[in-house]
Symmetry: C2
Subunit: 149 residues, 2 copies
DNA sequence: GTAAATGTGAGTATTGTAGTCATATTAGGG
DNA sequence: CCCTAATATGACTACAATACTCACATTTAC
């Protein structure tokens, strides 16, 4: 049970985008290089991100991609669900026909609970938070390295 | 991102087993019928459950399957992880080579947190709990139905 | 018109999953 | 020893999803 590469790539690309100053564009090829994501694949993923309204793009010379809205209004969950569809841990949570015990099954409830917890955690983090935290961690990381040398 | 059918079947089979009085055996074919699980597939799943020590089986006439230990010492997580292997939401949580930012990446931390939450919920429920709760819910459910009619 | 961008449908290779089938193995009881 | 009832398992199939690639289309600025 894993997140898809597509989902991971999307998250990385979005974090990259959130580091670009507002109003400026980047190019898919740049993100591809810096984040080490196959370019043609990233093109498709960016296409999806545009479709679901998280990214704005413009074609042609001078074109490129940028966040469609402020980074603090986009959660990790928005990205993942946008790309992968709804996260549903257990079949019986989605398919009524699958199990005839839905109305009293305790297992179902546990999955529901686990799923809710997970979603709320992913929902609680904006890509803005993520970019900032990573930056802060990176600085600490670099400082530690320096003092070690 | 879903649990596999195999995992779901295993859980159902285990709950079924936990309803059998201690010391008695059931047959795979019975579980198959009652839980609506393809028999040949269930045979394989039971094989795995035996291998990981959750089920005890005996062959031949008078043989069958039973829980290998008390139902309250077996968690939902034991079953799922036993069957599906470790639950790992995000690639970077398992594959060091995959991402060179492991030491400071904030995304990684969020996934870790979501995963921990989920595991702890699954770990907190024994199949004994589950069987009891389902029974209790079922009774309520039936009563409601009766009073409605 | 040309170069620089994104957009996209079709195709491929690989893997994973759900499930089947045939056959082996084990055990009890005549 | 043989029959029957049970689990065990390796090989196989069918299908779907994933992670890509490729070629080409489209858009825009100059």
């Amino acid at each position: 049970m894993r997140i898809s590469m597509t989902g991971e790539y999307a998250v990385r690309a979005m974090i990259h985008l959130s580091s670009i100053s507002k109003g400026k564009v980047t190019h898919i090829s740049d993100i591809s290089k810096e984040q080490n994501i196959p370019e043609t694949l990233l093109r498709k993923i960016m296409g999806q991100l545009v479709k679901i309204g998280l990214v704005r793009s413009s074609r042609g010379k001078g074109g490129g991609v940028m966040l469609a809205k402020p980074g603090d209004s986009i959660s990790l969950l928005d990205i993942i669900q946008g790309i992968e569809g709804q996260i549903i841990l257990n079949q019986c949570l989605v398919d009524e026909k699958y199990c005839d015990q839905t109305s009293y099954c305790a297992v179902r409830k546990v999955w529901q609970q686990a799923q809710d917890q997970m979603l709320s955690i992913l929902n609680g983090k904006s890509i803005c938070d993520l970019a900032n935290e990573s930056n802060r961690n990176f600085l600490e990381f670099s400082n530690n390295k320096q003092t070690l040398n």
